[in-house]
């Protein structure tokens, strides 16, 4: 379970893209809840990468369906250095 701080940082990056005003919970899904198109997802991934100074490999993306998935992945990558 990702830390609240990581979730908050990610939520802050999602907020400007959250056109429908969906309430952001850890289990919120990018595709079905937020309905982000692929271009928006790509921009968001890039922003998360730059915010945390990490790489989110393309291979990983299909498994990252919810905000919590992303937060967990970010923490895992960050802790591995």
């Amino acid at each position: 379970m990702a830390q609240a701080e990581t979730l908050e940082t990610i939520n802050a990056l999602i907020t400007p893209l959250n056109k429908k005003g969906v309430s952001l919970k850890p289990e919120t899904s990018f595709a079905s809840d937020l309905e982000l198109d692929s271009l928006t997802v790509m921009d968001l991934v890039a922003e998360i990468e730059d915010e945390f100074d990490i790489i989110l490999p393309l291979n990983l993306l299909p498994d990252l369906e919810t905000i919590e998935h992303v937060a967990d992945a970010v923490e895992k990558i960050t802790s591995e250095g």
Binding site: D37, S38, L39, M42, A46, I54, I55, L58
Partner: protein, 400 residues
């Protein structure tokens, strides 16, 4: 559960498009009159969406060589390059391409798609990183899926974005940067000088796909890297015979001393039949011809510039500020209007490619025009005129 249910959204999208008389994905060329003209449903049609940039499909030497090879070697090799499928012609073609690129080694694949699929999936191993542009061709994305490398993606043609990512990768890891000289949908060129310099700064191996730039970019037609004077920064070129060379097949060239081992470890090279001798012979003759084709090159660029400035003047929304390649992409606001525009343009006697996501970057709908060195300037004028007329008929607003 019907396995086809998952395709229902595609079926729905297609059936929602307002075609009446023609479907852009089901066009049949009944007769090919020349490099630039065909009969489509009985109508005389100017071909302006064929990627036949150098117009080599009826090049006499290539046609003659193919006929002779058919007579001498038969219709096919019926085997893999590493078993019975390597004839003298395949070796001669590899030597011709290596010479064209002034590099030591060449491998010929059965398609350009397989060349990318094979090279990228094989070079990028389990512990390696493959770094790609977001607008990469499907063959590059598929290569990433086939291989075991970690895939890093940067924003299209964005050098800073790429560098930021390269900075985060382990210094001593194997890293392959994959870029294209010309991107096929928008027809825009990559800032290869800056990109390759940055790639080299971070110790990356570089692979440049010149599929849509071979033949007419650079003094010898090797592509954008040659045109920008940065060939020394290219470790691998990948290219195709299905565009400027006028037939089908693909290749990779390199100076890497261990290059030849790829013939044993690259599965899309090993586990498929080699190109038929006639295709090999016509590719060889066409590449020899391209070397001597500075006139065609010059006329192709004239055509590209004429079309770009004509459409721009008419107020069409073009993907590039000037002609960066023979691909001139006209943006249309949505798929509905795009569909009607494409259909009406075909009825006016001009064939172009209708391009929509996922072939194009998300949210972009295009009338993708590609010109040929064999188009006359009168044909280019006709294309422009018919674009204008079509815009009027379907009610596409033009900038004035």
């Amino acid at each position: 559960m019907d396995l086809f249910d998952k395709f229902d959204p595609v079926v729905q999208l297609r059936s929602s498009l307002p075609f009446e008389k023609a479907d852009p994905f089901k066009v049949v060329m009944d007769e090919i009159i020349s490099e630039t003209e065909a009969i489509v449903e009985g109508r005389h049609t100017i071909l302006a969406g064929t990627n036949n940039y150098m117009g080599m499909t009826f090049y006499q030497d290539a046609v003659d060589a193919a006929k002779k090879a058919l007579d001498d070697f038969g219709t096919g090799t019926t085997g893999s390059r590493v078993l019975n499928g390597t004839y003298g012609g395949h070796k001669a073609l590899e030597a011709t391409i290596a010479d064209f690129y002034d590099m030591d080694h060449c491998m010929v694949f059965s398609t350009g798609y397989q060349a990318n699929l094979g090279m990228i999936s094989t070079l990028g191993g389990k512990d390696d990183f493959v770094i790609i542009d977001a607008d990469s061709h499907a063959s590059i994305y598929d290569a990433c899926n086939l291989g075991n490398a970690t895939i890093v993606r940067f924003k299209h043609n964005d050098v800073d974005h790429m560098e930021k990512r390269l900075k985060r990768l382990p210094e001593d890891a194997g890293k392959l940067v994959v870029v294209e000289g010309i991107y096929s949908m928008l027809g825009d060129a990559a800032p290869l000088k800056e990109m390759l310099e940055v790639a080299k700064k971070y110790g990356c191996t570089t692979l440049v796909d010149e599929a849509h730039s071979m033949g007419f970019c650079g003094e010898n037609g090797r592509g954008v890297a040659e045109a920008l004077g940065v060939e020394h920064l290219v470790d691998f070129y990948v290219g195709t015979f299905s565009k400027s060379v006028g037939t089908v097949g693909g290749f990779a060239v390199s100076n890497h001393p261990k290059f030849d081992v790829l013939r044993f470890v690259c599965r899309p090279y090993v586990f498929t039949a080699s190109l038929p001798p006639s295709v090999v012979a016509s590719a060889t003759a066409a590449i020899e011809g391209i070397k001597r084709s500075s006139n065609r090159r010059a006329h192709l660029w004239e055509n590209a510039n004429q079309l770009h400035s004509g459409l721009k003047e008419a107020g069409f929304n073009l993907a590039t500020a000037k002609a960066e390649s023979p691909i001139i992409a006209v943006q249309v606001p949505d798929v509905q209007l795009g569909t009607r525009f494409w259909e009406q343009l075909l009825l006016q006697g001009v064939y172009v490619n209708m391009a929509a996501p996922p072939a194009t970057p998300a949210g972009i709908f295009l009338m993708r025009v590609s010109v040929c060195a064999q188009h006359s300037s009168e044909q280019i004028d006709l294309i422009i005129e018919r674009f204008k007329k079509t815009a009027e008929i379907v009610g596409l607003d033009l900038d004035s």
